[in-house]
Symmetry: C3
Subunit: 350 residues, 3 copies
C-alpha cells in the first residue's frame, strides 16, 4: 500500500487529509514512533511524543493538521488530519491480518442440540456445544470449546472466542465480541439466611442481555438476574476479570477497566469510565458520563452527570483531592501545634 | 398454581400462612413488586418497598404478618407470614424451570478413565474428561467440558457446571454447586528464593477438600495445600473471581463476596461475611461471625467473635469509623489552628 | 528412602549435610512439624516453630546448622544444612508423586491443524485444539481442552494444564507452567473514543511472549500488545487471577501475587515482589527489586532499585508508614488543640 493509497483510504473518514512529502513510497506496516523502521507508518497524537519526530526512522507519520512539519521533512512524509489517533487506528485496521478463530462452517465435532437455528456464514468451532433451542445469527463465529446452554440467542457478526460459557437464556446482540474464559449468565450470588446460620439458595430465574457492539474481555463474569435481566447496553466495553453481579444495568458506551467489581442491582449511566479494581456497593446508581478512579470504592449513588469520583468511600474528585492534600498536611499541622503549645507556655509564664 | 396451592405449599415452611383476599386465582409466576403484572406473585420484605403496594399490578403479595393490608385489598390477595423474604424464595424455587445442564446419562463423547465409579442417576456432559480412579456419587451432574484430573471424589446431588477444572485428589461433598470456569486444586503459589535471585518451585502435594452444601461461583480459584488440605467447610458460599490460596480453612456457612482474596494459611471461622474485593495477608485467623467490609485489608488476626472490620489496615468498625470521622475533621482542625495562631500573636503583642 | 538416602540426596545441593542421630530409619514422606507422625520428615526454618521440636512425632527434622539439637535427640534424627527451607523443598520434590496431566502421546480426539510440529515425548490431552502452524517442543504436556489458536510456539518441558487458551502468535519458552483457565494473548483493551461518545476498536496486532521458567497461575489474563509484544521475562512467577494488560514488560524473576492488576505499557524490573490486589496505573516503570505491598495503588514511576512501596497513591514504605502513624495521631492532635484553645481563652481573660 503506497502513501497515496493510505491518504485515499483515510479520506473516507476525514474531510481533509493533507500530504507533505512523497506519496509514492510503499508502506509495509504500522509501528510505534519510537521503534518504527524505514517503510513503516506511525503517528503523533500527544505532544509528549513529538520529540521522536527528529529521530524516527518511520517513512510516514500521521500528525495533527496544526503541526508544522517543515523542519522534519527530510525523508519523512506526513499526513495531516484533525484526529491523528483515530486515523492511525483506521490504518491499523487496514493492516490487521485476519485472525482465524474457527474454520468456516460447523465443525463435525460440534454438538448441536434440538431446535437450534444457525445463520448463513456462521462458523462453529471444534467441540463447541450448542444447547437446545439456541439461535445464532449470520456471520457469527463460535470458537472451539465454547458452550451455550439451552435457549441462548446470539445476533449477527458476533465473535465468541474459544472457551466462553453462556448459561441458559442469555441474549447477545449483533457485533458483540466475548473473549475466552468469560462466563455469562451464571447464578447471581443470592442466599437467604436462616435462623440456624445456614443459607437457602435464592433461585436465579432471570437472564443476561448484552446489547449490540459490546466487547467483553477474558475471564469476566456477568451474573444472571434473580428476576428480569442483567443488562449490558449497546456499545459498552468491559475489560478482563470484571465482576458484574445480578440485576445490574451498564449504560451505553460505558467502559469498565479490568478487575472492577459491580455489586448487585447497580445502575450505571451512559458513557461512564470505570477504573480498574474499582468496587461498587449494591443497589446504587451513577448518572451518565461519570468517571470513577481506579481502586475507588463507590458506597452511594451519584446523580450529577459528568463528575469524577475517587477514594474510599468515593467522593467527587475535587473534594477528595482537597481531602488528600489536607491529610498530607497533617505533619505540618502537628509541628505548628507543638510550636503554639510552647509559645503558650512561655506566654503563660509571663 | 392457585393462591390456595401457594398457601398450602408455604405451610410446609411456616407455622402460620394467613390469607387475605381470594384464594382461587391462578398465579403464573413471580415478579419484583415494581414490575409485577396481573396474575403474578410478589413480596414486600423491606419497608422501603411498601410504597409500591398502592400501585402494583400483582395479584398476590407476600407480606409480614404485622402488615395491615385492608387499605390495599381491592384486587390483590395477601399471604401473611413471619418471614416474607424466605417465603418468596420458596415460591421462586417452586416456579423455577429446571435447567438442563447435561443430558441424562454419560455422554458418548465423555472420556472416562480407568477405575472410575459413577453413581446411579448421574449425568456426564459432552466432552467431559474424568481422570483415572475418580469417584462420583449418585444424581450428580458434570457439565460439558468439565475436566477432573485423577483421583477426584465427588459426592451425591452435586452440580459442576460446564468448564470447571478439578486437579488431582480434590474431594467434593454432597449437594455442592460449582459454576463455570472455576479451578479447584491448582498449585499453591510457593517458590523458595535462591541466592541468585531465582526461585525453586515448592511442590504442592496437598489437596482441596470441599464440604457439603458449598456453592462456588464462576472463575473462582481455590489452590491445593502444600501439604494437607485447603478446606472449605460445609455450607460456605463463595462468589465469582475469588482467590483462596493454599492451606486456607474457610468455616461453615461463611460467605465470601466476589473478588475477595485470601492469602495462604488463613483460617476463617464460621458464619463470617467477607465483603467484595477484601484482601487478607497470610497466616492469620478470624473468629466466628466476623463481618469484613468490602475492599478492607486484613493484616492481622482478630479473635473476638461477631465483630465487624473495615479499612486498611482493617480495624474494628467503631474504631475505624471514628478514625475516618476524625480524618474528615482535619480541615476544621486546620482552620482552628490557624485562628489560634493569630490570636496568640495578638496576645503576645499585648 | 532411608535417612542416609536423604542425606546423600541433599548432598547434591549443599556443601555440608551433617547428620545427628540414626541414619537407618525409612522415611515415608514429608509433613508439617505440627502434624508430622512417626516415620515422617519435617523441618524448622523459622524460630517461631522451634517450640514444636520438643513435641513433634517426626522421625527426621531438617534444621539450620547453627541449631543445637542435643536436648531433643531422643528418637529424632536431624540433618543440619545452611538453608533448611530449601532443603525441605528439595525433599518435597523427591517425594512428590508424578501427576498425570495427559496420557503419553497425542490423544486421538486432539484436533491438530495444518503445518503443526510437535516434538518427541510431548503429550497432547483429550480434545485439545492446536491451530495451524503451531510448534511445540519436546517433552511438553498440553492438557485436555487446552486451545492454541494459530501460530503459537511453545518450547520444551513446558506444561499447559487443562483448559488454557493461547491466542494466535503467542510465544512460550522452555519449562513454562501455565495453570488451568488462564488466557494468554487476548486483545488488549484499546478503543478510540469518537465524537458521538461511541468507540472504535483499536486492532491489537502484537503478541505475548513468555520467557523460560515462568509459572502462571489459574484464571490469569495476559493481553497481547497493540503492536510489538507483551513480555513476561525468564523466571517470573505470576499467581491466580492476575491481569497483565497490553504492552507490559515484567522483569526476570519478578513475583506477582494473586489479583494484582497491571495496566497497559507498564514496565516492571527484575526480582520485584508485587503484593496481592495491588494495582498499577498505565505507562509507568518500576526499577529492579522493588517490593509493592498488597492492595497498594502505584500511580507513578519509581526508579530507585530495592525500595518498598505501600499505600494509595503508593509511596516509599518509610514515608507511608510515617504518614499512617501521623494520621493515627490526629485524635491526640485534636485533644491538644482543644486544650490549647481553652488555655488561650483563659489567658486572654487575664
Amino acid at each position: 500500500m503506497t502513501i497515496k493509497d493510505i491518504q485515499n483510504y483515510l479520506g473516507q473518514f476525514f474531510d481533509s487529509v493533507e500530504l507533505e512529502g512523497s506519496d509514492e513510497l510503499v508502506i509495509s506496516g504500522p509501528a510505534k514512533i519510537e521503534t518504527a523502521q524505514k517503510g513503516q507508518v506511525s503517528f503523533i497524537a500527544n505532544e509528549k511524543y513529538a520529540k521522536y519526530l527528529s529521530t524516527t526512522e518511520a517513512s510516514l507519520v500521521i500528525v495533527h493538521r496544526s503541526v508544522s512539519v517543515e523542519e522534519f521533512s527530510s525523508g519523512i512524509s506526513f499526513l495531516k488530519v484533525s484526529d491523528p489517533y483515530s486515523a492511525f487506528v483506521f490504518v491499523l485496521q487496514k493492516f490487521a491480518t485476519p485472525r482465524m478463530i474457527a474454520a468456516k462452517g460447523i465443525a463435525p465435532t460440534a454438538v448441536i442440540g434440538e431446535g437450534v437455528t444457525i445463520g448463513e456464514g456462521t462458523s462453529v468451532g471444534a467441540y463447541a456445544v450448542i444447547g437446545d433451542r439456541c439461535s445464532i445469527g449470520r456471520n457469527t463465529v463460535i470458537g472451539a470449546h465454547t458452550v451455550l446452554l439451552h435457549d441462548v440467542s446470539i445476533g449477527e457478526d458476533s465473535i465468541l472466542f474459544p472457551s466462553v460459557t453462556c448459561y441458559d437464556g442469555t441474549i447477545i446482540g449483533h457485533r458483540v465480541v466475548i473473549h475466552s474464559g468469560s462466563v455469562i449468565g451464571a447464578d447471581g450470588f443470592g442466599f437467604a439466611p436462616q435462623s440456624n446460620g445456614s443459607y437457602v439458595k435464592i433461585p436465579q430465574m432471570g437472564i443476561v442481555e448484552i446489547g449490540d457492539d459490546v466487547e467483553i474481555g477474558a475471564n469476566t463474569t456477568i451474573d444472571r438476574a434473580t428476576m428480569g435481566g442483567t443488562v449490558i447496553c449497546r456499545g459498552a466495553k468491559i475489560d478482563n476479570l470484571v465482576q458484574i453481579a445480578h440485576n445490574c444495568r451498564i449504560g451505553e458506551d460505558t467502559v469498565i477497566a479490568a478487575q472492577a467489581g459491580i455489586s448487585g442491582s447497580v445502575t450505571i449511566g451512559r458513557q461512564c469510565l470505570i477504573g480498574g479494581q474499582a468496587g461498587f456497593a449494591g443497589h446504587l446508581e451513577l448518572a451518565d458520563r461519570i468517571h470513577v478512579a481506579a481502586q475507588a470504592g463507590i458506597s452511594k449513588s451519584f446523580m450529577e452527570p459528568g463528575i469524577s469520583l475517587r477514594g474510599y468511600p468515593a467522593q467527587p474528585m475535587r473534594d477528595q483531592l482537597k481531602h488528600e492534600a489536607m491529610l498530607r498536611n497533617v505533619g505540618a499541622m502537628k509541628a505548628k501545634l507543638d510550636r503554639l503549645e510552647t509559645e503558650m507556655k512561655e506566654l503563660a509564664k509571663k
